[in-house]
Amino acid sequence: MIDKILSKRKHVMEFDRTAEPPSKEIVDSLLRRAWKVTPSKNNFMPYTINILGPEHQAEKDHLYRKSLDSEKYANSNNPVPDSHDQLNMPAYACIASCAYLLVFTDRWEDKPNPYQKMCWDELGVFHAPMTKDGVRSIGETVSLEVGMFATAFAGLCVDNGIDVSYTLNFRRNLDVWEDTWFINERPMLFMSIGTARVYREDLKQHGLYKGDLRPEYERIVKWL
């Protein structure tokens, strides 16, 4: 059953801007359920999910442009023309066209729970998420937990007929985000949700995407 739910998820290249967006109540309810079932190391949940709703189109357009800039930056030694034109691919269009965009960022815990506080005060157990520098030093662990939250939330969304996409193509260093009022800590993941207009797998019918297969199972899972 879970297999069937999770396999319903398909990467959305572009969402349908004319479709009725899921209500805030539904999105909030799905987020609460994901929050409830997602585990966290030492119960810190060291991330914030910043949500841009349908009324935040300017912010989504801004993030779309930032993702394009990021790709240009990553390929800055590239003398070849941008392949997006050749692919006719609306790269990151999912960011600009989604109903809701979730921006996951680092979060440090300024009010630890009583147990976490006792561990630090009396046992000397230091937990990195309890300081700003600490949480920045464990960015990879935060990423891992964000991935767990995202899987639970995506499963709940597709189970309710809502499409989701992930975007990881952006720069993580905070200094490039000074022009973005809602990103004050290091970004970890963009997740866009809404009703799909174009899935990536639809584009596979038309050419090169056909060869874009994931590595075989045996290359990822190694039995000892």
């Binding site: 079932v37 999910i49 662990t141 990423s143 995202a150 874009d212 994931r214 199972y217 899972v221 000892l224």
Partner: protein, 222 residues
């Protein structure tokens, strides 16, 4: 339904060491997780090493690394911290049926589409042995996606899983386990739970107050 299954997850302190999960079941669940987990540019920049019930020596080595890591991190003697009444953390590594060790992986043989893009100047550190450190953060995120899917699939079959993130991240400290040839990312244990953390938490009032941050702290609706 999905929510109900996910809500069954409980952190396992100690597994029933006599109950081994059939290899074919674990293989099917891993295959399902592999099939449903998305990956940036389809690289899946990680590898899952599966340590089975007959490889107890490897589990012992991993357990010792975790204890040593805690001692170094907190500057304590773990033997003193864990009195005979307490289960040491990481006990689940010794008693689990299967231990999954996630490590980074670079792609030496990109798929045809990736090659087409690389030929057009696209820059993929995931396909370069010398640059995979640049993918560390995104590899961790993707491992989180995979581990959560695999955990959910296990729960549906009434199989417990737990995660361990406290281990030495420095590859040099893994030289005695030869298959760990890239940076370790996550330890995940699989089996049938015998002692759950929430059972132990009932021992003290203070430990009952080890709750997660409330929803509003984590979700910021702009």
């Amino acid at each position: 339904m999905l929510e109900k299954i996910l809500a069954k997850r409980k952190y396992v302190m100690d597994y029933c060491s006599r109950t081994k999960i059939d290899k074919d079941i674990i293989r099917d669940l891993l295959h399902s997780a592999w099939a449903v987990t998305p990956s940036k540019n389809n690289f899946m920049p990680y590898k899952v090493h599966v340590v089975g019930p007959k490889q107890q020596m490897i589990k012992h080595k991993v357990f010792k690394k975790c204890m040593a890591n805690e001692e170094a991190g907190d500057n304590i003697n773990a033997t003193q911290r864990y009195s005979k009444d307490q289960l040491p953390n990481y006990r689940n590594i010794l008693s689990c049926s299967h231990l999954l060790i996630f490590t980074q992986r670079y792609e030496p043989d990109p798929n045809p589409f990736q090659k087409w893009l690389i030929d057009r100047g696209h820059n993929y550190p995931a396909a370069d042995r010398n640059r995979i450190a640049e993918c560390y953060s995104s590899a961790m995120l993707e491992v989180g996606l995979f581990a959560a899917a695999f955990g959910a699939l296990c729960l549906e079959k009434n199989i417990d899983t737990s995660f361990t993130g406290c281990f030495p991240g420095d590859l040099k400290k893994w030289q005695d386990i030869d298959f760990v040839d890239q940076t370790p990312l996550l330890l995940m244990t699989v089996g049938i739970g015998k002692v759950y953390r929430q059972d132990i938490i009932q021992y003290t009032d203070l430990e009952k107050e080890d709750y997660k941050p409330n929803f509003e702290k984590v979700v910021n609706i702009l």
